[in-house]
Subunit: 218 residues, 2 copies
Amino acid sequence: MGLTAMRKNALSKQRIVEAAIEILDNEGESALTFRALATRLATGAGAIYWHVADKNELLSATTEHVVVPAITHSASEPGDAIRAIALGIFDTMDAHPWVGAHLSRAPSQTAILAIIERLGAQLLELEVPEKHLFSAGSALGNYILGVAGQNAANARLLPAGTDRVDFLTAVANEWSQLDADQYPFVRRVARQLAEHDDREQFLAGVDLILDGIANLPR
Amino acid sequence: MGLTAMRKNALSKQRIVEAAIEILDNEGESALTFRALATRLATGAGAIYWHVADKNELLSATTEHVVVPAITHSASEPGDAIRAIALGIFDTMDAHPWVGAHLSRAPSQTAILAIIERLGAQLLELEVPEKHLFSAGSALGNYILGVAGQNAANARLLPAGTDRVDFLTAVANEWSQLDADQYPFVRRVARQLAEHDDREQFLAGVDLILDGIANLPR
DNA sequence: ACCTGAACACCGTTCAAGT
DNA sequence: ACCTGAACACCGTTCAAGT
């Protein structure tokens, strides 16, 4: 082991990513700047670029760091395993709202590949017909990433410190006062918006897709 | 009609939104700045703020402007109507990649409300049980918005002027060279990635959800 | 009422200079 | 090889001053 490895507090991608996650979790997406990150790491802004190509790579790395461990499942039945993976992602986004934002907009990425692989492996177990494998996997993936994006958007909307239930109740009130001719459906489900459980709702959507997959012609 | 309304070339939200859409379509998301927009409108950057609160409102307005007309359907059967609405959104995102980006990350919005309403009205026609109305609607909506986000991300990824098929073929090649133990599913569907038709794929996902909805206990 | 455009308070990123 | 921090080239947004 050379001197390099022994240097105390040496910068590394690992340390940078962990510091970035702390900022994202504690102060929100908008607080993560290279300047703030450099300050926290007691270094110059430019130093970070030695270890990380740019901000996109930084966000991808933080996302992978929290998502990949969250999608290892331990269910024996493929349907349960898919539900467990989906919930793992959901709970991660709940704990780290910035994950949803990045997942739903950033390209390629190890994280998305890992998600597709975990979900897809279970589709293989389910013996989904070969020609439907890809579309079944992408339907599940797109649904989950769609929820990710909307959750992140909602988190951004919710003024810091506002109670979630109060907020939803307020939105539900707006919905129920919309024009009855133009918005019959939205008015009708307004109360369910206020009362619904995000997590259950999310799972219900996964189940709809799983049911559709189970009914695929073989 | 007063003098105000007669002034030639007077700025208006309408004119601003149309100019913004032109920039977004011709030069991409990153080209839409208040300075560029002001230059195109032959005015000062600050003038825009008299008509539009901020950039978020501007993007919401442009999104509504292209999405809302795209989701009026003309099908008699509810399932067909839902497919038509979904395809309307899909084709809009295809023509205006920036729509997907904003739809999948921005909050509230008339556009999202309109989408939910159009989809939901068809669920009422399908006589989906009351207690499943909300989750069925949000499953459809989240899936569609998920695709929106991923499509936008892909469009961003694709270097300007690159052929889509070439690009997908290249990604498929990467996928098929991944570790066989770690990525069995991704390797297996790599070829389908290169050959798939985005639009068909998208519809297949809608159909999976519709099938799940049709099977809901009553 | 509406428009102008300079100014403010930021960004991400680069790069010459250090160790 | 790795770090420093000033500098560059931008942003969105504000606001005093104009018409």
